[in-house]
């Protein structure tokens, strides 16, 4: 039992996951499955973004889907209406999300708890309304078609599913590596202190606004870049991308996997995506299951799959530790907690 648990929490598990992702196109049953996986990776990147502001920093951002849509629209508008190539447009989607996120952040992050959630819910809706109504810029409810796909390098052609799959995988790994760096660093610990309590964080000399805005901008950049990739693969987008239900999807992924954990966003996104795929006809009504599932999760398993597992394992390790309490000095506990935080 413990062995299996240790394995799941070990770095080796991550290697196994990566190896699986790398060979997935070879073992997948159809090109469609590869496509679904690539889309799931894109959503996972967005979920990692939400995890930074909501999971680490504790601020429930309900405009996250809106930022995803903004990223997608930046790529769409620049490539279709202004003749840009995909890659510069992709960079622009990150930059624009950052700028817009910064502006929204400096206003909204002064608000506490409920006010912040309500405010961002409204921001998400404003984004949707603007995309839907501002026809001169966004083509209105018709949406934008023929978005440029990512330009390939040499023989690699990203309009084909498999190369695109690897491209998205590359960005996902990059996203996870960066989040894992952040979460175990002083910057991530600063975010966590804010999540515990604004007052506590401030009493420890942490500048609330600066750190919250940093976390928020990071999260919007993740969302925006994920949206940019999405536009590049789907190549048709409309205002529906900004509907609040996408934000709720992202929240569901995060909550199922484990809010505030490193692997939670990936686990949650994969689990829900493939569950939904397993019952195709069910896609339209998925909320009949997701809705109650969200409720049950927050009541009975608020830490999600990964969080619950880590807590369980942590407790087990801790309960065994007293056996060697006599000789446990600070040095030992420092290493074991380092390990714990690496795995978290």
């Amino acid at each position: 039992m413990d062995r299996i648990a240790n394995f799941f929490a070990s770095p080796a598990m991550k290697v196994v996951l990566l190896a699986f992702a790398l060979i997935f196109p070879l073992i997948a049953g159809s090109e469609y499955q590869i496509y679904v996986m690539a889309l799931a990776f894109i959503w996972a990147i967005a979920v990692y973004g939400l995890n930074i502001i909501t999971g680490f920093c504790g601020q429930l951002n309900l405009a996250h889907g809106g930022f995803f849509a903004i990223g997608a629209y930046v790529v769409a508008i620049l490539t279709v209406d202004h003749g840009w190539a995909f890659w510069p447009a992709f960079v622009a989607s990150g930059v624009f999300s950052a700028v817009f996120g910064f502006l929204v952040g400096i206003v909204s992050l002064r608000l506490k708890e409920h006010y912040f959630a309500i405010f961002t819910l409204c921001v998400g809706f404003i984004i949707y309304l603007l995309l839907d109504k501002w026809e001169a810029l966004t083509h209105g409810s018709l949406g934008i078609i023929n978005i440029a796909p990512p330009e390939g390098f040499g023989l690699i052609d990203f309009t084909r599913t498999i190369p695109f799959y690897y491209l998205v995988l590359f960005f996902l790994v990059l996203a996870i590596v960066l989040v894992s760096r952040i979460s175990s660093s002083l910057v991530g610990r600063t975010f966590l202190a804010i999540r515990i309590s604004d007052d506590l964080a401030q009493s420890l000399g942490i500048n609330l606004m600066r750190n919250k805005v940093l976390a928020f901008v990071l999260s919007t950049v993740y969302a925006g870049l994920a949206g940019g990739l999405y536009a590049g693969v789907v190549r048709f987008i409309g205002p529906a991308e900004a509907e609040v239900v996408h934000t709720f999807d992202i929240i569901t992924y995060l909550l199922v996997g484990g809010i505030g954990t490193l692997m939670g966003p990936l686990v949650g996104t994969m689990a829900i995506t493939w569950l939904t795929q397993a019952v195709q006809s069910f896609e339209e009504y998925r909320m009949i299951v997701f809705g109650p599932m969200l409720v049950l999760l927050v009541i009975f398993m608020p830490k999600g799959v990964v969080g619950t597992f880590l807590t369980w394992r942590g407790r087990r390790l801790a309960s065994k530790a007293p056996a060697k309490e006599g000789q446990t000095r600070v040095g030992d506990s420092a290493t074991s907690s380092k390990e714990a935080s690496d795995n978290a």
Binding site: L178, R181, I182, S185, L186, V187, G188, R189, T190, L192, A193, R195, I196, S197, D199, L200, Q202, S203, L204, G205, I206, N207, L208, L214, L218, G260, K303, G307, L310, T311, G314, R315, L317, A318, A321, E325, T328, R329, V330, G331, D332, S333, A334, S336, S337, A340, S341
Partner: protein, 255 residues
């Protein structure tokens, strides 16, 4: 070291702290007592910068810190604990303490992205600091334990350690002995003395009179936001105004 001049805080028409002037000397244990709703926590909030005063000023080491943001005040060397000890339940005790020294570090997001030497050095420094303060409060043996599995008294000590990790000159303790038993209270009082022995000035709010009377060098009594007395424990015990307005009967003072 801490000089308060005519400090007032009003909420609407109500003065929670009214025209309080007091001076706390370095290296001492200063206590603030008073009945519930006397404005003690508000007084702490003002000193720590959690809210700006309506009028009056606060000087720390000769520097005017009135209305300064709480994070800046913390960096100047004023740390505090809260009545309820909020900690990160899903982390170990030691992990909780590492962020305490964050305010003495410079690393930013860019350092994280490139994994700079500065970041690695500073993380080492914060970790060492966490171990040091954990040792200071006598909890080295439970550094690996999850916060959720610690006792009330241990949590109090962790909160002390967290405040100590900021390298403070002055520590504000809000009801440190609330919710723990008499024996634990004794141990906590010993820890507070140890802090002072290490050159830290302590200022605390407490309801447990016997603890205050044996611990404090100086006591200030607040009632309805106003300072009604200050002095040594001996002076306070015999001060008729205090007995009249706050303690009601002499037994309570001795109790």
């Amino acid at each position: 070291m801490l000089k308060i001049n005519n400090l007032t805080k009003r909420f609407g028409g109500l003065a929670a702290v009214n025209d309080v002037s007091v001076e706390f000397a370095a290296g001492q244990i200063n206590a603030i007592i008073g009945p519930n709703g006397a404005g003690k926590t508000t007084f702490f909030n003002l000193v720590a910068g959690a809210m700006p005063p309506t009028s009056g000023s606060i000087e720390f080491n000769g520097m005017d810190v009135t209305g300064m943001a709480p994070d800046r005040i913390a960096r100047l060397g004023i740390a505090r604990t809260f009545q309820t000890t909020k900690l990160f339940e899903q982390s170990t005790v030691l992990d909780n303490l590492i962020v305490g020294h964050r305010l003495r570090t410079q690393s930013r997001l860019w350092d994280v992205i490139i994994n700079s030497k500065r970041l690695r050095d500073e993380e080492k420094k914060c970790r060492a600091k966490a171990a040091e303060v954990l040792d200071f409060v006598g909890l080295s043996h439970i550094g690996h334990r999850y916060i959720a599995d610690t006792t009330q008294e241990e949590r109090k000590r962790v909160a002390f350690a967290l405040a100590m990790a900021t390298d403070p000159e002055l520590v504000l303790l809000d009801e440190p002995a609330g919710g723990i038993n008499p024996e634990e209270t004794e141990n906590l009082a010993a820890l507070i003395r140890k802090m002072v022995d290490h050159g830290i000035t302590v200022c605390l709010i407490e309801h447990k009179m016997d603890m205050i009377m044996s611990l404090a060098d100086k006591i200030m009594v607040l009632d309805h936001g106003e300072k009604i007395a200050e002095g040594t424990p001996e002076q306070i015990k015999t001060n008729p105004v205090v007995i009249e307005a706050y303690l009601g009967s002499e037994e309570d003072v001795e109790a």
